[in-house]
C-alpha cells in the first residue's frame, strides 16, 4: 500500500500570494494514497526539511511529493532530506507550483486549481516511482586542459600543484596564447611577457604537467571520471626531444617570406621557425605550406645545418590515447574578421589596423621592436584615431550582438601608452559607451583622459577614407551634435572578439553545449559558472564568454578547484535514471543502438526458456549504466517497448498525462 506525503511550500509569499497553499494541502489529503499533507513557509529551509524527515519517519511514507519551486532548483535538496530520513531519494517528486504556476498566473482560483493538478500529477508519477540506487564509477586521476593560453596554463598549474597529473593540449607550436602577443596589461601596465613567461616556464618544468603542443583533440569517449581522449600530434617535422632551440635553422632557411602569424602578419618569418623567443617548448616547427623541401623535395638546408639531427621531413601526424578524469576547456578567442566592416577601410588601407596588431607594433619583441611606426611607410603617426565597438553590440548581422568587454580598457591602455611614449601624438577615441567596471578600471580610463589628454568623442564613425594620403575619419560627435572629420595617420579598430572557431569541434566532441555565438554554455549563469552542463567538463577563459586576464585567471583557478574536488574522489556516483531493456521483450534489432549518442548499448546473446524444457538463444540489448546519460532516445525507437527509462518510465509519463488530462 502506497503511503504518500505531500508538502506544499509557500516560498514566503512567492507561491502563497497566488496559490491558496492551505487549500491545496487540505484538498490533497483526500487523494488516494496520500496519508499526510502539510504546508510550510519555506520547505527548503532547515525546518522545512526537518518537517519532511519527521513525516517520513512518523507516517512511514513510501513516497514524497513536494509542491514548491522548480525541481531544477531544489530537487536535490529534497532528495537528500528524504535519504537522510531513510527513504530512497528517487521516491521524491517535485511539483513546480512556483515557476510554472504562482509566478505566471494572477488569478488565485485559477492558480490554485492548476497547483492542485500539478501536485496530483506528481502524485500520479511518484506512485509509479521505484527506488533507484546510483551506481559507482572509478575516477582516473589525471586532467586534460584543452588550450595553452593563460587560462589553460593557470588551470594546469593549480591542478598540478595539488598533486594531479595534467596534460595541456595546445594546437599551436607553443603555449602562451593571446596573452603572449600583448604588450602591456591593464590596469597596472606591467609587461605581459614579464608576468606570463615565468608561468609558461613553470608549466614546462612541473613534473606533473605534460605539454602536448602542436596537438589537437581528435576524439573523446567516456564520461565524467573516465574520459578516453585521442590526441592528434601534428607533424612539426622537428624532433621535439632533440631540438635545442638554437635557431640556426631559422637563419639558414632560404624560404623567409611566410607571414608571421604571431605578429599578426605584420612581418615575415622563415618556413622553419620558433614562434617567439620565449616559446614553450622552445622547439622549431616547419610550415609545410612554405617549406621548399616539403613542397618540392629539393632544399634540405635546415637538416644539413641542424647540429643535433632534429629535422625529420618524413614525420607524420601521430596519435596518442590517454585517459582523464576531468577536462578543462580553455580554447580562447580571436578578433573577428572585418570583411563586413568595409566602411572603416581595413582591407583597403594598410594604416587601418586592429588593436591586436597595434599590440604587436608596440611590443619590444614585435616587428618594429616596439617603435610605433605606420605599416604603410614606416613613418611615425602623428594623429591616431581609435574606433571602439567595431563589430561588438551589433545586431544587424554584420557583427556580434554582445559587448566584447575588454576593448574599452585596452583602448584606454593604448591611448595612454602612446601619449606617454610619444607626447607629440594626438589621440582620438570614438566610443559609444565607455564600460569600465572592475577594480581600478574607471580610474585607469579617467587617467587616460585627465592625465594624458586623450580626446574621447562620444559617437561612432561612419566612414574612413583616404584623401591626399591622409586617413579621413568621419564620425559623429553626439555631445556637440556635429559631424567631425579627423585627418589621421593611423586608425586602430577595436575589433570584437569571438571564440576560437575550433571550439565548435571541441564542444561537439565533448557534447558540451554551445550558444548561438559559439560561447560554451555554463551550467548555471550565476551559481555554476565554470562547469559545463556535461559532467566532468569545465570552462575557463573567453571560450565561455568575453573576459579580461584577471577574470580569466580567476575562472581558471576556479576550474582547477572543481577539477581537484573531482579528482580527489576515488569513485563517483552515477545517474541512476538510465535506460534499461526488458530482455524478455527485446528483439535485438539494433535500432536503439543506432540512436544512442554515447555508444552505451551493446548486444549479447542470451538463453531464454521457452517452456516445455526448450530454450532458445536470442540477441538482446544491454545498457552500460555508467555510459548511458538517460536521454531516452532509445526508448522511442524501440517498437516493442522493451527499452524503458528509469525515473521517466513510459508508465510514469503516461500517468502524468492522464492526471493532467483528467477533466
Amino acid at each position: 500500500m502506497q503511503r504518500i506525503g505531500v508538502f506544499i511550500c509557500w516560498c514566503g509569499s512567492n507561491i502563497s500570494a497566488t496559490v491558496d497553499v492551505v487549500k491545496v494541502a487540505e484538498v490533497i489529503k483526500n487523494e488516494p494514497g496520500v496519508v499526510y499533507s502539510a504546508n510550510y513557509q519555506y520547505m527548503c529551509s532547515e525546518n522545512g526539511q526537518q518537517l519532511i524527515k519527521q513525516a517520513i519517519k512518523e507516517h512511514n511514507l513510501t513516497g514524497v511529493v513536494i509542491g514548491s519551486c522548480s525541481p531544477r532548483m531544489h530537487e536535490a535538496t529534497f532528495r537528500k532530506a528524504a535519504e537522510e530520513a531513510g527513504l530512497n531519494p528517487y521516491m521524491v517528486e517535485v511539483a513546480n507550483i512556483r515557476e510554472h504556476c504562482s509566478w505566471i498566473h494572477k488569478d488565485m482560483d485559477e492558480a490554485t486549481e492548476k497547483a492542485l493538478i500539478l501536485v496530483r500529477t506528481a502524485i500520479a508519477k511518484v506512485k509509479l516511482n521505484a527506488p533507484l540506487t546510483a551506481g559507482e564509477s572509478p575516477v582516473i586521476k589525471r586532467a586534460l586542459v584543452i588550450g595553452g593560453g593563460i587560462a589553460g596554463i593557470q588551470a594546469a598549474l593549480d591542478i598540478a600543484d595539488a598533486g594531479f597529473e595534467v596534460d595541456i593540449v595546445e594546437k599551436n607550436a607553443t603555449i602562451g596564447g593571446r596573452m603572449a602577443q600583448l604588450d602591456k596589461t591593464f590596469p597596472t601596465l606591467d609587461c605581459s611577457a614579464c608576468i606570463l613567461t615565468p608561468k609558461m616556464v613553470d608549466c614546462a618544468q612541473h613534473e606533473k604537467i605534460d605539454i602536448l603542443s602542436y596537438s589537437e583533440v581528435e576524439e573523446v569517449k567516456g564520461f565524467v571520471g573516465n574520459f578516453s581522449v585521442k590526441i592528434r600530434r601534428k607533424a612539426r617535422y622537428v624532433d621535439e626531444t632533440k631540438c635545442t632551440g638554437c635557431k640556426v635553422c631559422m637563419d639558414k632557411c632560404p624560404s623567409k617570406k611566410g607571414l608571421n602569424t604571431f605578429n599578426m602578419g605584420l612581418n615575415t618569418r622563415p618556413a622553419i621557425h620558433i614562434p617567439f623567443a620565449q616559446a614553450i617548448p622552445n622547439v622549431a616547427v616547419i610550415d609545410p605550406e612554405q617549406c621548399i623541401k616539403l613542397k618540392t623535395g629539393k632544399c634540405g638546408i635546415c637538416q644539413k645545418f641542424c647540429g643535433v639531427g632534429a629535422i625529420d621531413y618524413e614525420q607524420k601526424d601521430s596519435f596518442i590515447e590517454r585517459q582523464y578524469g576531468a577536462i578543462v576547456v580553455a580554447t580562447g578567442f580571436k578578433p573577428i574578421e572585418l570583411d563586413a566592416f568595409n566602411e572603416y577601410g581595413y582591407n583597403d588601407n594598410k594604416d587601418v589596423i586592429t588593436s591586436l596588431e597595434l599590440e604587436r607594433l608596440m611590443n619590444a619583441a614585435g616587428p618594429t621592436n616596439g617603435v610605433l611606426l605606420r605599416p604603410s611607410d614606416g613613418e611615425h603617426p602623428k594623429v591616431i584615431t581609435f574606433i571602439q565597438c567595431v563589430g561588438s553590440r551589433d545586431t544587424s548581422g554584420c557583427g556580434k550582438p554582445y559587448c566584447s568587454k575588454i576593448c574599452c580598457m585596452y583602448t584606454a591602455k593604448h591611448a595612454m601608452l602612446i601619449r606617454e611614449k610619444y607626447p607629440d601624438t594626438e589621440v582620438h577615441v570614438f566610443y559609444i559607451d565607455v564600460r569600465t567596471p572592475g577594480k581600478n578600471y574607471d580610474e585607469f580610463f579617467r587617467r587616460a583622459v585627465e592625465q594624458y589628454g586623450v580626446d574621447y568623442i562620444k559617437g561612432m564613425v561612419g566612414k574612413v577614407y583616404n584623401e591626399n594620403g591622409k586617413l579621413m575619419v568621419q564620425g559623429s560627435n553626439l555631445i556637440d551634435n556635429e559631424q567631425v572629420t579627423i585627418e589621421s595617420d593611423l586608425v586602430v579598430l577595436a575589433a570584437a572578439i569571438e571564440p576560437e572557431p575550433s571550439v565548435r569541434k571541441v564542444a561537439t566532441l565533448l557534447t558540451a553545449s554551445i550558444d548561438t555565438n559559439n560561447f560554451l554554455t555554463e551550467s548555471h549563469a550565476k551559481l555554476r559558472p565554470v562547469e559545463s552542463p556535461t559532467a566532468g567538463v569545465y570552462l575557463a577563459g573567453v571560450c565561455q564568454g568575453p573576459k579580461d586576464i584577471p577574470e580569466t585567471v580567476s575562472q581558471a583557478s576556479a576550474c582547477a578547484a572543481k577539477v581537484i574536488g573531482l579528482l580527489v574522489k576515488d569513485k563517483l556516483k552515477t545517474n541512476p535514471c538510465v535506460a534499461t531493456p526488458d530482455e524478455s521483450m527485446c528483439n535485438g534489432c539494433s535500432q536503439c543502438a543506432n540512436v544512442c549518442a554515447y555508444g552505451a548499448i551493446t548486444y549479447v546473446d542470451k538463453e531464454f526458456r521457452l517452456g516445455g524444457g526448450k530454450t532458445e538463444i536470442r540477441r538482446v540489448a544491454s545498457v552500460n549504466p555508467a555510459v548511458c546519460q538517460g536521454c531516452g532516445a532509445c526508448t522511442v525507437t524501440c517498437p516493442s517497448g522493451a527499452m524503458d527509462l528509469k525515473g521517466f518510465s513510459s508508465k510514469q509519463i503516461m500517468s502524468e498525462v492522464e492526471a493532467i488530462c483528467k477533466k
Partner: protein, 325 residues
Amino acid sequence: MKDVELKMLERAKALLESGEVARVIGWKKGDFCYDPSPASFETVEELNGFVYDWFCGANLSKYLIEMSKKEGKTAVFLKPCDTYSFNQLVKEHRIKRENVHVIAVECLAKLDIEKIKAKGVSMVTGVEVIGKEVKVTTAYGEETLKKPEVILTKCETCQKTHQVKDEEIILHDRPERDVDRFAEVAKLEAMTADERFAFWREQLSKCIRCNACRNVCPACSCVKCVFDNPASGIAAKANDDKFEEQLFHIIRAFHVAGRCTDCGECSRVCPQNIPLHLLNRKFIKDIDGLYGEYQAGETADGKTPLTSYAEADAEPNDVMKGEAK
C-alpha cells in the same frame, strides 16, 4: 507458371535429398485452388502438396525468424517483394542469414480471389493466365477476365526486383510497368481535412481488431507486441474503448515507419478490406520527400530514416505548413 513450379519442386527435392537444407519454405495446396498457404517441407514426401501458382501472394520472409533459428539450413522461395522484407529482417538481426538459402522466384503479379468473386465469378476451380487475360474455370463454365483488374492491390503498383538471391528460378520476363504508388496517398492529401477525416473514420470503423495485419506484417515481428506489453501504457484491454483501434493503427504505422518495405500484406489479409497500406505509404512518401528517397529492405545494413538525421532536416512546423522541402 507451371514450368516455374516444376523447376522449384525439382530444386526443393534436390536440396532436401542432398541434405543441403533441413527444410524448404514454400506454399502448399489448400482446400480450393485459390487458397494455397505457406508451409515448411522437411521431407521429399511432404513435397507432394507443394504448389506455386497465381494465388501464392503470401510473403514468406517472416517465417524465417523462427525457421532460421532451427537446426540446419532453411531454403526459402522469395518473390521480389519478399526479398525486401527479408533484408530488413536481416538488418534487424531477426533472421540468421547464414542459416538461410534464398531461392529467388519469378512473380508476374498474383491474383486476388476476392476481386475475381467481386466480378460475379464464383465456384472457381482453376485459373490460367495468358498475357493480360485470366481464364477462370468455374463449376459453371469458363470466364475470361482482364488480369490488371483482378491482381492483388499490392501487385498493382509493384516495381520491386530481387534484392537477395542465392540462386534464382526466373523463366519469364516481367513486363515493365509505369505506375505511381503514391497516387492514392496524394489523392487523400489533396482532400480537405474534413474529407480525409471522414475517409479514415469510415475505413477504421470497420476494424474488428483481429490483428491479422499485425500477424502478417514482416516488420511487426516483435518478440512481444507493445500492445501486449503492460509497461508501455498502451496495452490493449478487453474492454477497449472506441479510440483504441485508431491508436493501434497510428502506432503500428509509426512503429514500422522507415522499416516497412511496402509489401502490402496488411491490406491483403485485412478481412474488412481496410486500405491499411495507405497508412504506411504516407510515411514512406513523407520520408522520401523530406529525407531523400529510401526503400526499406534494399540493403541488409545501414540505418533507417528514423534512426538517422541530418542537421539541415526540415522543421516540424515547416513540414506542417507544407513549406519543407
